[in-house]
Symmetry: C2
Subunit: 505 residues, 2 copies
């Protein structure tokens, strides 16, 4: 298997160089002064060109062909590694140079325009650019589909979220739409008393207090390895960089602690997956990468929603809040639970509660699918957005596109078919947590969370997901872990349990 | 000139990629957690390999030959750019792959051993490794000398400090040695009363106070551009990264403010040169690079010694010190001047005063020159070091090699012929300041420093040095700027004026 060994060397080299791109991107968000931006963009583009050249050099295709011809000689891990090498190679070589260049050029123009149009609530100026982005997405989808019987959107979806198809997503979302809007209304109706009884906390809550709380949760509950990471301020919270140095960021607002705390827990979920991902002896190889964006989101949402928003966690975190924010009437376990589980329809996806969030995602999925597959044009988006918001969430956005179809950055960056990952994560987190409860016992899980000693839960995440990296494809990974592929039933049971029946752990 | 245009494209590409190496190195010193080190080293090595390959590809030599054949068609800036391209290409291609690998491997072993031996004052364990490093240096010197009539050390010196030769340095240092040890003794003798009258400041001086002082000096006096840089803590102060984003660092000790303040001023001198270096329309090209390590040091030492340690600067900085450290008896202009100009023989080069520092440099130069040219072996170093310390500075180091020949990191990293840059900087700073005084007028310069409005001085530095980048070779640059090549007379006049005659500005 000389060809396979050469491919492994190539991927180690790519991994080493991608480290620098990851660092440059982290630094852009956290450290870089404004005048460094242009030189940084040039540096990143240059490195991407070097990487693209290494990945698409003609001899790589030859090596892959040779290696695949004798793949049966490899053990399971190497076979999976080779499969991922072939998948990544196909993704990288599918697009002609000229389409890549046009994507980069249009995205570079679109992003600042989007920032301006959102700030000015000026959708009219935005729509012609959106139409260009849609047409690029259609073209990319057609090229990626090639001769396969796939719609352009289906091709983009499979590129971003391997193993996922429009048919599967349509079925899952049809299921969710059959019960979630009604459930949401019922919960909101029940909530009226909860809201009235809420005791607000004293504000402003200082940055240092929120950071200290975040650091303590990362350290004591999630066992974040501070020798292999950092925690810095950024305009949007994110976690990542490289597996050996997984850096976390926070964003804080003085009006509440929940936004910063829950985002930190969310990002810690991502970070733990990265720090522990894949068969370690294969570090640097594709098999050691996270399975997909959707699976990544199962880990962050398991941390944030299954643990961080639970009633048991309110018991654990209330004394910590008192420690960091000072004693005050709002810091009772019951009131903290209510604050952490606050349900309120939101125009903004990233601020939506866990009932509204999947509806936000479905809305975006339906619109982008129909845009890319030619059933909608950019000019239709404001109206369709408004109709669906009214229908799914009960809010109207006509005339307020800044908090409607202009709110997300994804499309402005030519990022199509990215949204489904969030709902895969929401369902998968509930599904995985159901398995963990079953395997460890309900009481044990509740006790773990109540005391902040979640090591048994982390060990299960490691066993079921982290250790596997890209060993299996998504459906197989979930089936081995939970007994079935993605099933929205678990999300429903979780939401009903927490928000209707008060049986939350 | 198609060949020259292609070379320009290549250098733009190298510049873009080197941005990432510079960022990775800055991050290593300031941000990186310990467990990130191995992955970072791999990433940097991979990028260096890519860069080396780009620089030494066979077609580059062909392009250079073509471009040089018609160099007369180019204007002055492009001609200088091409000259630097050829110089850098020669340096990069001189060493065979196998010698480069051995250097990297030995340096990787030597550096941790050096740290341990210095901590344990264990020169016996160190000397065999030093001998290996010397032999590698000899080999590199021979290879770089090629068929030219150069000693190995001379070849290394010219590689590190273009335009400098052993013959020139020997003459300059002979000059300095003829008057500096005697001057140093005289000043030390005069100092006895000064020392007795010194009022020490209250300690500890907090990090935040020192950082605030540093930031204010950078902003108000040196007009450091905060939109194009940062100021962070590091184990050793340095300034640099890339021209568009020149980041500064500080190191502080609680016992005094001078170490952090003077180092910050020093690094700001480097930073201003980088921020303003070269003909701007050629950014990314070799002609836009700093002329040499020695010329870089003229700019940092002009800031630190000519301005920061001057009597006039004590007038400016005393109220600032009071602002940041609080009013106290030691904060009189006269006492602050004495603190900033403190003269005291030091075992340690980096802590030496400006009279002792050149002697430290000459000692190292003489030893490394004789090591590389075969007149000394590693085993001789502790004895020779002690003899020269006694002779030049009046201190003995036998049995205390940790504060003797083990103190510097340079040789442990295969860094030969680096020390002369510090003395070139010391002489050049005095020489350049003499010119600036002459051109602006003594009173104007003094007034500038006294009020902290040094813009006329900065404008002169820009005109004489920064704007020129690599347009001229070192001697020509200095001659155009000051009317003569490097001349130690200016250092002598500066030191006598400040420390003997009390005529300091």
């Amino acid at each position: 298997m000389q060809a396979y060994e050469k491919l492994k060397q190539l991927h180690q080299k790519l991994y080493n160089l991608q480290h620098l791109a990851a660092l440059a991107e982290w630094d852009m968000q956290t450290m870089m002064p404004v005048k460094g931006a242009e030189a940084r963009a040039n540096a990143l583009a240059e490195l991407q060109a070097v990487l693209h050249q290494l990945k698409t050099a003609p001899h790589v295709a030859v090596l892959l062909e040779e290696a695949l011809a004798v793949r049966d000689e490899l053990d399971e891990v190497d076979r999976a590694n080779l499969r991922e090498m072939a998948r990544l190679h196909a993704l990288e070589t599918q697009l002609p140079e000229d389409l890549l260049l046009r994507k980069t050029r249009v995205a570079a123009l679109a992003q600042p325009l989007w920032v301006r149009c959102r700030a000015d609530n000026d959708v009219a100026t935005w729509l012609p650019m959106l139409q260009q982005l849609v047409e690029l997405g259609r073209e990319e989808g057609r090229v990626r589909a090639g001769t396969a019987d796939l719609s352009p959107y289906d091709a983009l979806l499979r590129a971003n979220e391997p193993g996922m198809t429009v048919a599967k997503l349509d079925a899952i979302y049809a299921d969710i739409k059959s019960w979630l809007p009604a459930l949401y209304k019922e919960v909101l109706n029940n909530c009226k008393d909860v809201d009235a009884s809420l005791v607000p906390l004293q504000t402003p809550i200082a940055e240092a207090q929120q950071v200290a709380l975040g650091r303590q949760l990362m350290t004591e509950v999630w066992k974040y390895d501070w020798d292999a990471g950092r925690y810095d301020k950024a305009p949007h919270p994110f976690g990542g960089m490289v597996k050996e140095d997984v850096r976390m960021t926070y964003y804080w607002t003085p009006e509440n602690y929940t936004r910063c705390m829950l985002a930190t827990i969310h990002e810690t979920g991502h970070a733990k997956y990265e720090q522990g991902c894949g068969p370690r002896e294969m570090l640097g190889q594709p098999v050691c990468m996270a399975r997909s964006g959707g699976i990544h989101e199962t880990q962050s949402l398991l941390a944030e929603r299954m643990i961080g928003k639970s009633a048991a966690f309110a018991e654990y975190v209330t004394p910590l809040l008192e420690l960091h924010l000072g004693a005050q009437p709002g810091l009772t376990v019951e009131n903290v639970r209510k604050l952490n589980q606050l349900v309120k329809p939101s125009y903004i996806r990233t601020l939506a509660d866990e009932l509204g969030n999947p509806l936000h995602v479905i809305l975006r999925y339906e619109i982008e699918r129909d845009l890319i597959d030619g059933r909608l044009e950019a000019a239709d988006v404001p109206r369709v957005w408004n109709d669906k918001m009214k229908d799914y969430i009960g809010l109207e956005t006509l005339g307020r596109d800044d908090i409607g179809c202009l709110q997300d950055i994804h499309w402005a960056g030519c990022g199509w078919a990215c949204f489904p990952a969030y709902s895969i994560g929401a369902i998968g987190a509930a599904q995985l947590m159901a398995t963990i409860r079953q395997q460890l016992g309900d009481d044990v899980v509740t006790q773990c969370i109540r005391t902040g000693h979640i090591d048994p839960i982390l060990a299960k995440q490691k066993e079921l997901i982290w250790d596997k990296g890209c060993l299996y494809e998504t459906d197989e990974l979930l089936t081995k872990a939970t007994g079935e592929p993605l099933n929205a039933r678990h999300l429903r049971e979780h939401l009903e349990r927490r928000y209707l029946r008060n049986e939350d752990c």
